[in-house]
């Protein structure tokens, strides 16, 4: 038997290597951005000019920053609505003793293991205005009037990307919720069944309250995903048309790697960091409930 002190030492011993790399590759770059945003730096030499808060000030007055942030919020809300509702629905239904539950699990999880690049290419093909299956389908069923340039029009570009991203992310959340539901003791469901509770009642009175912690984690993940969205946007539209799908991450990329304004890009990154921290903090505050022990 280890005593407490030895146990602690062992934990520290095992944590040290991971902590070292975490500090080196995550914390250090993050912390250094709080240094670089004070400079005008082209990123090709060691020359930097100190400009104080000028970058941050400019970023706060940059209309593209606000426009992009707006798109990020659109994605956050869109993903939360689509991904959460569908994945909860599917998780609940797969959990029930239905035929081929395992097949469904595999099918739903499948998009999640695809590489993001592949997902973006698949969906670009789906939305292709000339030979994409979406427009071809609409043409086939006689809805020619509904045909759109899905990724090339102001009104359709954001929903189109949201759907593609949701399709990609859904599997993970289904599995997450499924694992949560499985943790709930069977006796609860049996008791509910004996009392004659409907499926809807079981869902809202048993599953939702007991799944609350997982639900919260899922929300935080989705918020972070919605505030990022870089791979989908960069690969599917590059922020276009006319910046109608620009998000902060693609704008940061443009400022740093096209315009060679690393200090400015970093200051936009800081705005993004503040938004992410603020939003998740707020969420935890709003959603804090006493954890139900069972």
């Amino acid at each position: 038997m280890y005593n407490k002190k030895e146990r602690k030492r062992l934990i520290i011993l095992f944590l040290t290597p991971a902590l070292f790399f975490y500090l080196l590759f995550v914390i250090y770059p993050m912390a250094s951005s709080f240094y670089y945003f004070l400079f005008k730096w082209r990123g090709v030499s060691a020359n930097k000019t100190f400009v104080g808060f000028a970058n941050l000030k400019e970023a706060l007055h940059d209309e593209v920053v606000w426009q992009s942030l707006g798109h990020n919020f659109y994605f956050v809300i869109g993903l939360i609505i689509i991904v959460l509702s569908f994945s909860l629905f599917f998780a609940f239904n797969i959990f029930r003793p239905i035929k081929w539950a395992n097949l469904y699990k595999t099918v739903f999880f499948f998009p999640n293991v695809l590489s993001l690049v592949l997902v973006a290419i698949i969906w670009s093909f789906v939305y292709n205005p000339s030979f994409g299956i979406l427009n071809s389908f609409l043409r086939m069923v006689g809805l020619e009037g509904w045909i759109r340039t899905w990724l090339g029009e102001k009104g359709t570009v954001l929903p189109s990307i949201t759907i593609a991203a949701s399709w990609n992310m859904m599997g993970f959340y289904i599995i997450l919720f499924l694992a949560g539901i499985k943790r709930i003791p069977r006796s609860f469901f049996e008791a509910a069944l004996i009392d004659g509770a409907s499926n809807i009642r079981v869902f809202f009175s048993i599953i939702m309250p007991l799944l609350w912690e997982i639900f919260k984690v899922a929300l935080v993940y989705l918020i972070i995903a919605g505030l990022n969205m870089f791979p989908y946007v960069q690969l599917m539209t590059r922020g276009g048309p006319n910046r109608h799908s620009e998000v902060l991450a693609t704008y940061i990329y443009e400022q740093a790697f096209t315009n060679s304004r690393f200090g400015y890009a970093t200051s936009i990154g800081i705005i993004l960091l503040v938004v992410v921290l603020g939003l998740t903090g707020l969420l935890f505050k709003i959603m804090s409930r006493e954890t139900i022990e069972y």
Partner: protein, 439 residues
């Protein structure tokens, strides 16, 4: 006896090894790092081996990959760059020039060219391309591949339909009506990357409408330059062609391969692009498809030269010698050797690409590229964009890109488009931290 033999052979071995090490040490090694794209890096290695034969005391280590700039950037910052590099399209050449990271090439350019000793090195290279990276009296970049821009079509498809290649805007519009009747879109574009539409529709039309001096005014940030008549007429023409349905429906949402595929599938007749098009689409182009390039049609009422032609260096494989290179003199000499006429012909033939060394175009095998060179060789005026204005003032370029996208999707009028660009140019004019250029 056995022991003596063993001893002697060990001594012999050590001597041999030592001598070869000493020999290796007396060789100077230079490091060459290159972007590895469609053209690969085998041709650099081949030229390097030839150079080593000419200069037995030099060893050239060549390496490269498709994202080489990611490795080169930290090395430039740390002051430890290779001796010679083609840092690729992801590298900001101009930022590096402003920061003094590149070695000025003018002294070397004044030396005789390899194999053509009666000529200076500079005289053998296409001047328009060499001058793209000219800053404060010095040249910094040697182009290796040339991009020629124009309108591309399938000659076989045109012949089958008895369509004639138009020279003027009026001829094009008459043709477009005919093409539309066949349920084919006359034009398409790589809308997701709106710079294609700038390169091949808006800017060439503008230069032909307003003349090269008007274009120069814009390049030189002259106040009000973007609101001149030539730019407006070009923007109005693009707008009109969208309204008349000449541009393929949905092209704003297509990427480069998708839209280029539309021409191959004969759903669109013409696409504006650079001379890499044929090579890029090689794997999906049917055998009977004949890529050919035509010049952008000129308006009969235009003030500019009808033959005005847009070309640029393919920045992905342009060469620079870092100012902190360890052996700049060897790197420069090797670079001069690499662009000798003989090597240029070899690269051109081997890679099927246009090399900006004068006289090397005779080695071209591709009919598509020959058609592009034919249009280029008639040009009296040459202008550049993607190595100059596009990267001098990336924010104005972005305004042009988003503007042309908005124009193609009919969100704004031609006047609003130019207002937007002029506004951005005004911002750049006022920003003293942005280095200003003369075109």
């Amino acid at each position: 006896m056995k022991r003596l033999a063993l001893f002697l052979s060990i001594v012999f071995l050590i001597t041999i090894l030592g001598a070869s090490f000493a020999l290796a040490a007396s060789k100077t090694e230079i490091e060459v790092a290159s972007f590895q794209g469609g053209y690969g890096i085998d041709w650099i290695k081949k030229i390097a081996r030839d150079y080593e034969k000419l200069h037995p005391n030099v060893r050239i280590k060549v390496w490269g990959n498709p994202r080489v700039w990611e490795q080169l950037r930290p090395r430039f910052i740390a002051g430890n760059p290779p001796d010679l590099c083609a840092p690729g399209w992801g590298f900001d050449f101009w930022a590096a020039i402003y920061e003094g990271q590149f070695f000025p090439l003018d002294e070397e350019l004044a030396k005789p060219a390899y194999g053509q000793e009666d000529k200076k090195w500079s005289e053998t290279i296409n001047k328009a391309l060499l001058d793209e990276f000219y800053w404060e009296g010095k040249h910094y970049v040697i182009p290796m591949f040339t991009n020629l821009y124009g309108w591309w079509y399938d000659d076989a498809f045109f012949a089958k339909n008895k369509w004639e290649v138009p020279e003027t805007v009026a001829q094009f519009e008459a043709l477009a009506e005919k093409i539309k009747k066949e349920k084919v879109a006359p034009l398409t574009t790589q809308g997701m990357y709106p710079y294609y539409a700038l390169w091949s529709y808006f800017l060439p039309l503008a230069v032909k409408y307003g003349g090269i001096d008007m274009y120069k005014d814009a390049m030189n940030l002259k106040p009000g330059a973007w609101k001149q008549d030539g730019f407006l007429k070009a923007a109005q023409k693009v707008d009109e062609w969208v309204k008349k349905g000449y541009f393929q429906k949905g092209c704003v949402g297509m990427n480069h391969t998708e839209s280029q595929m539309e021409v191959i599938a004969h759903r669109a007749a013409i696409i504006g692009c650079g001379s890499w098009l044929e090579a890029e689409m090689k794997n999906v182009t049917p055998k009977n498809f004949k890529w050919r390039m035509m010049g952008v049609p000129y308006p009969e009422d235009g003030k500019g030269d009808p033959t005005a032609f847009y070309m640029d260096q393919d920045i992905a494989t342009s060469w620079v010698v870092p100012s902190k290179a360890k052996h700049p003199e060897i790197a420069l000499d090797f670079l001069r050797y690499m662009t000798s006429l003989e090597n240029a012909k070899y690269v051109s033939a081997e890679k099927g690409a246009i090399v900006p060394v004068k006289g090397s175009e005779v080695a071209l095998k591709s009919e598509a590229l020959k058609s592009a060179v034919a249009v280029y060789s008639k040009a009296k005026i040459i202008w550049t964009y993607s190595g100059t204005y596009q990267v001098w003032y990336p924010t104005i370029n972005k305004a042009l890109e988003t503007g042309i996208q908005a124009l193609l999707s009919q969100e704004i009028t031609p006047e609003q488009f130019l207002d937007k660009v002029e506004k951005e140019a005004e911002k750049v004019r006022k920003d003293s931290t942005i280095p200003k250029h003369t075109y």
